[in-house]
C-alpha cells in the first residue's frame, strides 16, 4: 500500500471530491461524485458514498481525508441522535451543522475534513450550511466544495437562481457535478444526489455514462 502514497497532504484515502448543495423552492438538493483516491494517483474506490444521512431529514457531504470524515460523522450522528432523544423532536439542520463545526474546530490540528450539511426542518424550512476545514460555519443558498469545485464556480454563479423548481435544481446539480468531474482528476464515478423536502427524501444516482456531456467527443 505504501507505493500508492505520494506526497499528498492528506494521509491515507482522500475523497478529493466535488460536493454541492442548493436550495430550491420547497427543499434542498445535496450531491457529490463517488471517487476516493490515494495520493492523487490511485483510485481506491469508484463507488464511495459521500452523501451520508445523519438524521431523517439531514444529510452531509464529506470532503478531505476519508478516515477523518467518517470518524467525525460517526460522532456527529451519535450526538445528534442523543440530542434528538433529549429534545423529543427532530433536530434542526443548524444543530447538525453545529455539531460538525464543534468537532472540526476543537480538533483542527488533527483533522483534515470539511462538510456540507443540508436538510429540512419545521422551523426554518430548507437550509444549507458549510463547515470548512478549520471549523468555520456559514449558511448559504448554494454552495460547492472539494477539489473539483474550483472548476465550477463560474457555472454555479451564473446558473443558480433562487426558487427553482425541483427538476430545474436537479438538472443544475447534475450539470455542475458532471462539469467538475470532467475537469478534476480526483473527482469521478457516479453522481449521487439526494433531494430533501418536507415530504421525504429521494435518492437519485446518475451513472457515469448517463451524465450530461459537454464537448466530450
Amino acid at each position: 500500500m505504501e507505493k500508492h502514497c505520494t506526497d499528498s497532504r492528506v494521509k491515507g484515502v482522500s475523497t478529493g471530491t466535488t460536493i454541492l448543495a442548493a436550495i430550491f423552492d420547497g427543499g434542498v438538493v445535496i450531491g457529490s461524485d463517488s471517487r476516493a483516491s490515494i495520493g492523487g494517483e490511485y483510485v481506491s474506490s469508484k463507488t464511495i458514498n459521500k452523501v451520508i444521512q445523519v438524521h431523517d431529514r439531514i444529510f452531509c457531504c464529506i470532503a478531505g481525508s476519508l478516515a477523518d470524515a467518517q470518524a467525525v460523522i460517526k460522532t456527529a450522528k451519535f450526538h445528534l441522535s442523543f440530542h434528538s432523544v433529549q429534545m423529543e423532536s427532530p433536530p434542526q439542520v443548524i444543530a447538525a451543522a453545529s455539531v460538525l463545526k464543534d468537532l472540526c474546530y476543537k480538533n483542527k490540528d488533527e483533522l483534515q475534513a470539511g462538510f456540507l450539511t443540508a436538510g429540512w426542518d419545521k422551523k426554518n424550512g430548507p437550509q444549507v450550511y458549510v463547515v470548512s476545514l478549520g471549523g468555520m460555519l456559514i449558511s448559504q443558498q448554494v454552495t460547492i466544495g472539494g477539489s473539483g469545485s474550483t472548476f465550477i464556480y463560474g457555472y454555479v454563479d451564473a446558473k443558480y437562481k433562487p426558487n427553482m423548481s425541483k427538476e430545474e435544481c436537479l438538472q443544475f446539480a447534475t450539470n455542475a457535478l458532471a462539469l467538475a468531474m470532467g475537469r478534476d482528476n480526483v473527482s469521478g464515478g457516479v453522481a449521487h444526489l439526494v433531494v430533501i423536502t418536507e415530504k421525504g427524501v429521494e435518492h437519485v444516482v446518475v451513472p457515469g455514462d448517463k451524465l450530461p456531456r459537454f464537448h466530450d467527443e
Binding site: 500500500m1 491515507g12 484515502v13 460517526k74
Partner: protein, 275 residues
Amino acid sequence: MALANIFETPAPGFNFDNTARNAALEGLFDGGKTPKPLKTGTTIAGVVFKDGVVLGADTRATSGEVVADKMCAKIHYISPNIYCCGAGTAADTEKTTDLLSSNLTIYALNSGRNPRVVMAINILQDMLYRYHGQIGANLILGGVDCTGNHLYTVGPYGSVNKVPYLSMGSGDLAALGILENGFKPNLELEPAKDLVRAAIQAGIMNDLGSGNNIDICVITKQGVDYIRPYQESQYKDNRKIKYKYRPGTTPVLTEKVIPLKLEVVQETVQKMETA
C-alpha cells in the same frame, strides 16, 4: 453505552514507553538499525458471491528481501461467521484481528446475539482511527450474518468502504485486474473460488512480495470452508536430507548439577469460604 465492558477505553494519547527501549536497542546493534518490522508484502482478495463470501490470500511473509515465512496464514478468524484478510505489518494485522475476535466473542456472550459484520467493522474503524495510521493494517473483512453477505475494507487510517469485490496488499493492482474482468454479481460457488484463486495467482506471479501457496476461505450461511492450501506453489522445495537429529548425536562430555537452595520465608493459609 450498552455492554460497555467490552472495550476498556485506554488512556488517551500515545504510549511512548517503547521509544526509550528502542533507543537503547539501537545502541546495542553497533550503529546498525533496529530490526525492520515484518511486512507481509501480500496479495489478498475477497469476493461476494450468491451464497456468501470468498476470501483469498497468498502465504508469503517477507522481511526485507528474505522470505521469512513460506506458509504464513493471512486469513484470520474473527468469529464463526466472519474472517479477515490482513495486509501490511504482520504483527499489526495479527494483533488487531486477535483483539477484534476477543471483543466480538465477549459481545456475543453478553448480548446473546451472533456478531454482525458491521459491528466488527465499527470496532476496527474506531481502533485504527484512534492510532492515526500508526497501526499498519490494511484489512479485508468478510462475513455472513442475518442481514446478508458482506465484504468491507478498512485502511490503516480508519477509512471504511463496503464493496462487492476487492484486493489489497502489494499485489493488489495485479489482482484487481483479474477481479474487474471476471466479477459478476451473484456468482456461483465454483466460479467465485476460481476468480479469487486467479486474482491471487496474478498477484503471486507479478509481485515479488507475494508468493508460495494460495489459501481460500469460503463463508456461507451453512458454515466456513477454510482451504489451506487451495493451491500449492509449483516451486516447492524438496529437502535433500533430514534435518532432525536424534538424541545422542551430540556427545555430552561433562555434567554439573547445582541444586538451588530455597528458604521458606513466609507461609500463609487462607481458608476458602464455600458456605
